[in-house]
């Protein structure tokens, strides 16, 4: 497998096989945590960190990996990294940790991370693997943040509430509040499905428009199975 160019890695991670919008991986944390921007950003950054580190480590170890034993190695790496992230959050960002609650440990179960380790990092040099982790994580975080913004805006009539949990007191002032009550549905679980559904629809529609205007049907990406 040849190493793809940096531009291709980023186009893939952010758009063509975006974890949230195209592959629909990691939906559990995505749907559960995305009811505000700060929650989306917090979980997005934590996932991004775990993705980059896992990809780097897996790539460095790829000469030692053998087929029957690779999955336990991946799981061990991911579990250790997530534990470290959780401890760091508990120790240095306790307020954010209480908000994200159970979803930080659940990063372990985010299939995106295992999928990138298996499909990419175990066959590519460290630099490409690290960039792939960065691109995939950024793509996932972007969806989390966008969905968080949508749900917070519609559901609570505010934006960026609670950013001080992540960035300290200085960020407390950037909250925007509309003088309206939110539409409750948006912050309840069904709102997550509806919001993500709308985002996927808009994304697909945009892609289709671009594909047809480019008039080359050769780049159509087949949809991959979800896990």
């Amino acid at each position: 497998m040849s190493t793809p160019s940096t531009a291709d890695i980023f186009r893939d991670g952010l758009l063509r096989r975006n974890a949230g919008l195209v592959q629909l991986l990691g939906l559990c944390p995505l749907l559960a945590v995305s009811n505000s921007v700060v929650n989306g950003l917090g979980l997005g950054l934590a996932t991004l960190f775990v993705l980059v580190c896992t990809n780097l480590i897996v790539s460095l170890l790829r000469g030692l990996l053998v087929t029957p034993l690779r999955i336990p190695v991946f799981v061990l790496i991911i579990a250790a990294l997530v534990t470290v992230v959780e401890l760091v959050l508990q120790a240095w960002f306790p307020a954010l940790d209480r908000r994200l609650g159970i979803f930080v440990p659940l990063i372990v179960t985010n299939c995106t991370i295992l999928a990138r380790a298996e499909a990419f990092a175990s066959r590519q040099p460290p630099l490409a693997a690290g960039l792939d982790g960065l691109a995939t994580g950024a793509g996932f975080a972007a969806v989390l943040i966008a969905l968080g913004a949508l749900r917070e805006l519609v559901g609570r009539g505010s934006l960026f509430a609670g950013m001080d949990l992540l960035f300290g007191e200085a960020a407390a002032g950037i909250t925007l509040s509309l003088p309206v009550d939110g539409l409750l549905l948006a912050i309840l679980p069904p709102g997550a499905f509806i919001g993500l559904g709308l985002m996927i629809a808009v994304f697909r529609w945009q892609q289709q428009r671009r594909d047809t205007s480019a008039d080359t049907a050769t780049t159509a990406t087949p949809s991959r199975p979800t896990a």
Binding site: L64, V73, A79, L87
Partner: protein, 227 residues
Amino acid sequence: MSTQAPLLRGLVALVIVAAVAALIVALTWRAAAPRIAENQRLLEQQQLAEVLPDVDFDNRLTEARLSLEGAAARTAGVDTAWIARRGIEPLGVILRAVAPDGYSGRIVLLLGVTQGGEVLGVRALEHRETPGLGDAIDIERSDWIRQFTGRSLDEPARADWTIRRDGGAFDGITGATITSRAVIRAVERALLYFEREGAALMHTPIPTDVDAPSDTSQSVEFSEPRP
């Protein structure tokens, strides 16, 4: 057997990864553990101080904890008390009360009470009420919970300890009648408990030994006279 060598290589990788992962988690734990314990203590302290506004106590509340056992405490739904003192004189008590009948399960409350049984403050500590409806009991969402301040079993009269819609003296939360009723009942039950057991509670000796580990809590049993 050509498969043996790679398998051995894979096993070596697995063992190395396991050892390094354990080491990194252990080192992170060592750095984080004191801060995590300190965060928990600070959080408890802050939550406790919030329900005793303007009380001039001078003891460390986190070390003045009593576990409440016995039938009276169980029926009242209170499980822990903290005694605020100035010198040896008790100034007030904080009770942790559980409303078992919230819309989505248990609602854990902290309430601060003066020696005379007047409520100084109530806060919802843990709950899973619906965002946008029942979560109005949360001080971060609304001021609803402040209406208990200054109340006691005589003010309003016992018959009025319910929401206005049921003929009582308290505001209900629109769309969260079940939550409102549960919280009001839990506060009332805790005050009834305090009326009966408060005096004994406040004069229970608490180890004031500074060297005592902070998590030693004493168990006391206040039981109703048996019929």
